[in-house]
Symmetry: C2
Subunit: 241 residues, 2 copies
DNA sequence: AATTGTGAATTCCTTCACAGCC
DNA sequence: GGCTGTGAAGGAATTCACAATT
């Protein structure tokens, strides 16, 4: 209904996830600038803040339209609105968390999510001792048996998997079968997604081991890392041979 | 003392973090194979499991030595030992967590870490109500004022930052000043690391927004993601202009 | 004068394809 | 025959550098 749903004039084909992840970073930056009352910003000044190349920022944005003004830069609020639209944050997402262990509980109570765009509407576990109790948010923990029904009823479009590795794949299959196309996975395991479904895995083991490698490295001459965590994602090898 | 500290015959210069992250994945795979009593594995069979290219696996490994046997493949236990050494997991790392909110507590109690290699030896917070109490692990929560002293005393070499974004940078500076070179950051903020220090940021906001983008995308023709979460890290723009 | 948007150049990563070895 | 290790080819992402625009 709002113009937020009108398609932007973009050449959206083949945009790298590295690019879209950076859009999130730009958006956060713009939020801060907007809150401080700054009206325009240049690619140069954003680049300095994140140790990126300014051309990269301009290119990232240019995939989606011409948002800047030559000689001036970008209007903070205007660009911010555009990024919200591009990232799909102008519409609400209903999120479920499966697995109410330490991590799942922490996520259920985490306040860092953009509450405008993401609402946690259901929690699941398979432990009878937990089912029926409430996480600190006044949200009841439901039996995992109800997973598929509730996903459909509550129109859940993003599921966070926070169960042990051994059962993650089974949960994932149920979730996909119920029609969910976007999954954030905290289990240290490779989930085999089919086309049309997207899995983003946050793997704490890999992150820690990466630090261990850095510390162990023979001649670690100043590998200054910098920015961080842009997932690199594989296009699939699948299908139609 | 053990031969674990003997340098491997590697050309360790300029190895991409994408490569080392994959080493973690291979290691996990080998752990499973080893537990199931499998003795050898080919790059082909590993590749299928993770939707990778077998040449990539061979190349990743070849940066560090010749671990395979032509016509046979890789000996699971042998390669596993080599990867442990390469990733620095044959030596113990002392880990501290700063910030005992939901996430910090969850991490303190998380059992997914390789306990052989990583031991959580200290927890910090700045909330007087929390200081002196114990996290579920029988670990006392210390005042953040003691951060630098304890880091040195307990020889902490990895710090996990789980504090709000607003204070993350200050904590980070203190931690680095105390001599820590490896930081896992959960605050949704860019920490400006200097050369010789490595920061790995896990940014849940970016992850969720990436899913949102996927769902919002106009013609999402089958972006099948696959593998996952290989950080892409920037070499620094810094220094010596 | 300043800053965007972008083709061209560069750098980095992946995949191919095959020689070499078991 | 099967599989590794790797040079060469191919593909992607980044950076350069400058014309275009306000």
């Amino acid at each position: 209904m709002t113009e937020a749903n009108r398609p932007l004039p973009m050449k959206t084909d083949k945009i790298s996830e590295l690019t879209t992840n950076r859009l999130s970073v730009y958006l956060r930056c713009l939020n801060e600038l907007s809150a401080s009352g700054v009206e325009t910003v240049s690619s140069q000044s954003m680049a300095e803040q994140f140790n990126l190349n300014s051309a990269q920022i301009r290119k990232d944005l240019a995939y989606f339209g011409e948002f800047g003004v030559r000689g001036v830069g970008y209007y903070v609020d205007d660009l911010r609105q555009n990024l919200l639209k591009i990232l799909g944050l102008t519409q609400r997402h209903n999120v479920a968390i499966v697995g109410m262990g330490n991590l799942g509980l922490a996520l259920a109570n985490y306040h860092g999510f953009n509450r405008q765009s993401f609402e946690i509407v259901a929690l699941f576990d398979d432990d009878p001792a937990k089912i029926g109790t409430h996480a600190r948010s006044r949200q009841e923990i439901l039996s995992i048996d109800a997973l598929q029904v509730v996903i459909r009823e509550k129109e859940i479009d993003i599921v966070i998997i926070a169960v042990p590795a051994a059962v993650a794949e089974r949960v994932f299959e149920k979730v996909v079968e119920a029609g969910v196309r976007a999954v954030l996975n905290f289990a240290p395991v490779h989930l085999h997604a089919k086309p049309g479904t997207k899995v983003k895995t946050v793997d704490l083991t890999i992150s820690l081991e990466s630090l261990s490698y850095f510390l162990a490295k023979p001649k670690s001459d100043s590998v200054n890392v910098d920015y961080s965590d842009f997932l690199h994602v594989e296009g699939e090898r699948n299908g139609t041979p």
